[in-house]
Symmetry: C2
């Protein structure tokens, strides 16, 4: 389809003078409105003012300028339909073959603190209608809503006098996605004004693909990584290595969140090692190297193929130690130059920098789908409601710190979670059990397997003890103190037993199931 007439009406005028100039040089007739027309004329580009074309004045502060019979007939006429052609000619109306329009910047204005009346003025009506009409009639009309397309279109027109059919189709698809997204923002904005809840009656989620993934959780499952549009980007940068896989991303997220939370609580160098979503190593230390060595010691076998995350600078010494083993990903706030060089010797090792761990702890919504159902919930960013010793046995400052350390880790262990720590080092994890006493036994067994002494360690439990059996077992094994949410109907028994056994115990008042 030869493009003979274009209608241009843009809010954002970036690049429009150059684009329109080239279109004019190609002999294309330009219709234009208000400010756009004035700008083009200033630049000596021949323009027909739409008001003159339609013989209708622009009124209502620009609310009505393009919404007219002559324009929409010129856009919607099927060029291969004799009746359409005849009707157009009877009405003395000509074709419009391309629409260049960018909508009022509603999304941008949402970030400013405007009143609702002010926001309303940024809802585009005419531009949206022009784009949708053009996209419907995409075989004959080009909808252009973004300056990103100017160059491609010009290249096609200069070369062939037209754009390829596939490109027309893609532009139409993108246009409807764009108008849909635009209205979803408006609906969402109204929703915040009327419902004032994070869980309104309807919700829409717009996703842009960031990466095709080779496969999902398993090789027979297709997969893609998407970013939620209109949502702040997480602050991390990959410095080296292959693209992250599906399981890498999920594990990366666990590692970054746990590290972020330890970093928020403790002003010490820390290291966590994650495998299959669960922490298998974690420690705080005086230096990055100490933290790493302690974290590795937690469970050296499980660490194989895991993800190691640091909140501090990784130095050459630590990098050399890391390189003695196989990791999928190493994450740190900073890598010293020599350390980065050392780590980069491993071709496949993914190296990621997180400058701002805090961004991972932002309050946000979490979406998980189950067939056609979606569970939406607040991200679990809180840590505890209180931090109160519930038994008379005294708790020293050191112990309290140790218990908090275990508590943070337990939050990131799959439920039912039991965590044993000693000297700010994770020594045993009981993960993913359907019975809490099993988790205690497993944590103890794992600590023993890795040559740790249970005596003097601290125990953290992600949810309450249903009975006093866990306290008895902990005491029998020489565990020094316990942290748990409380909340069982048998709390009285649990506390009584702890009192009898002189077991210091803290109740946090907050459960952290993580399934």
């Amino acid at each position: 389809m030869k493009i003979e007439t274009v209608l241009i009406s843009v809010y954002d005028k970036t690049g429009i003078v150059e684009f329109a100039g080239e279109l004019a040089r190609l002999g294309i007739k330009i219709l234009s409105t208000g400010g756009t027309a004035a700008l083009l004329q200033q630049n000596s580009i021949p323009v027909i003012k739409l008001e003159e074309y339609t013989n209708l004045p622009e009124i209502l502060d620009g609310r009505v300028k393009t919404l007219c019979y002559k324009v929409f007939s010129g856009l919607l006429c099927k060029r291969d339909n004799e009746v359409h052609i005849r009707q157009l000619s009877e009405q003395g109306i000509s074709f419009i073959d391309m629409v260049v329009v960018n909508l009022y910047p509603f999304e941008k204005m949402m970030k400013k603190k405007l009143s609702m009346d002010e926001m309303i003025e940024y809802i585009d009506i005419g531009g949206n209608s022009l784009l949708r009409a053009s996209a419907k009639n995409y075989k004959f009309v080009l909808p252009v809503y973004s300056q990103d397309d100017y160059t491609t279109i010009l290249n096609h027109l200069k070369k062939d006098g037209d754009v390829p059919f596939e490109y027309r189709q893609t532009l139409a698809q993108r246009t409807f996605f764009f108008t849909s997204y635009y209205d979803s923002l408006v609906a969402g904005y109204f929703s915040t004004q009327t419902e004032k809840t994070a869980y309104p009656g309807t919700k829409s989620l717009y996703l842009r693909k960031l990466q095709d993934l080779r496969y999902g959780e398993n090789p027979h499952q297709g997969s893609g990584l998407y970013g939620i549009m209109n949502s702040p980007v997480l602050n991390y940068a990959q410095l080296h290595g292959k693209e992250l896989s599906f399981n890498n991303i999920a594990d990366f997220y666990s590692a970054a969140n746990l590290m972020a939370e330890l970093d928020r609580c403790f002003k010490k160098a820390g290291c966590v090692i994650i495998k299959h979503r669960n922490p298998c190593g974690a420690a705080l230390g005086e230096s990055t190297l100490t933290a790493y060595q302690k974290a590795l010691q937690s469970d050296p076998v499980s660490a194989y193929g895991g993800i190691a995350a640091f909140n501090s600078d990784v130095d050459l010494k630590t990098a050399r130690e890391i390189n003695k083993r196989f990791y999928e990903i190493v994450i740190a706030r900073r890598f010293q130059k020599e350390a980065l060089k050392e780590l980069r010797q491993k071709k496949n090792l993914r190296i990621i920098q997180i400058k701002d761990y805090g961004s991972f702890l932002k309050q946000d919504l979490v979406y998980n789908s189950y067939n056609n159902l979606v569970l939406v919930q607040d991200k679990d960013v809180k840590l505890y409601k209180k931090m109160i010793p519930i038994t008379k046995a005294g708790i020293k400052v050191k112990e309290k710190e140790e218990l908090l350390f275990g508590w943070v880790i337990a939050k990131y262990v799959k439920s039912n979670a039991i965590v044993l720590t000693k000297s700010l080092q994770l020594i045993g994890v009981g993960a993913g059990q359907t019975s809490r006493i099993d988790s205690v036994n497993i944590a103890i067994q794992k600590a023993r397997n890795n040559k740790f002494k249970i005596k003097g360690s601290c125990l953290a439990s992600d949810a309450f003890f249903p009975f006093d059996d866990c306290v008895k077992l902990a005491s029998k094994k020489g565990i020094r103190a316990i942290i748990q949410p409380g909340g069982s109907i048998h709390d009285d028994d649990v506390i009584k037993t702890a009192e009898r056994l002189k077991m210091p115990m803290i109740f946090t008042g907050m459960r952290h199931f993580y399934h």
Copy 2:
């Protein structure tokens, strides 16, 4: 705002005669187009034809009928703005105070097998523009896109001669959500035509809230349950008990899927018990009661507060046994009348009927968000690629059945997953470990705790053995046969050790990580 003039142009004419009749009786002037106008006139409702009002003929097969200056100026004029009022009067244009329009049924037509050219005709342009203009100017104009609102509007108008401001605002919000959803369907349709992939460059997900949830995974997390719009509804019905909680829903899903998969593979009565996403009991039997008793025996302690699912009729005997213990949910294909009566005695027990387990195994996409990232993948509905004995030790038909039984269960155990079964009964689960040998040890320990003999049991592993240590351990404990995907770089060692130990072993060629 008094409503004096309404524009009516509906594709779906359900209820329009009654609605328009009442509006006319209230003294409201009706403008209308083509088929709608004719229908109203047949029913003796006074109507002004839009063609006469605008003095412009409907052309292009109805593509252009309402898209005109006079109509949009009448809609978009701010009634509290003197300049607007003056401009309207200079042009001789009157207000339009309400728009009743329902769009061409694009969604409905998507289910038919139409050509793209045919589908294009169902993209509404004019109606969409009218609704959006009215919604923008919602303070003065009512956008009505659904017959569901006719009665409410009439009630308000009859009582007060107007609708409340909050209702106007809500209608505007819903209108933009509706036009947004509409365009998302169009964009999605174009996308299937141009990209032909389940993972296109952009995606949108429309959610409708089904239920406010008291809280999410933990009490301090807000939450809601949503259904994905334009997606088939899962076929289940709650017959009794409180609403499902967040964790109930996630567990319910695991239970239903595992039961569905066992039901697909075996023509026997089955029962599974799920706790915290993991199976803690599972069995097949000659009767529902036998299956239940065996499943409970798998791990009676963990079963407390779990979910029990059946693929058969629950009879009175089984119901009585179920009621001896505490479950959150009981699921079955059918409940015999007496059984349902028995189960209903427990006020809080949620009773759910799934007639069609097959619907849970449909190929679908799974969405999981991590802050502003969303991992999208195919649901893991496949089971195995092959079912081939990899060692010379013979495998009997009975053993093969037993191994398949364990394999299905292992798919639903959090990784690293090891499952021990015997006589089509789950006897030990090693779940959620970061090291596979730990999972084997835990499965064995759990079986022993529950008084099962390991000797003669079968072992299933959700992913390959990294080394031959698991085979050695299995053999030492008297395990009879193994099923696993294979795929380790040390498979040769693993097979060699299995050969030496005369251990029958099946490779499935398909891994089932489930984190």
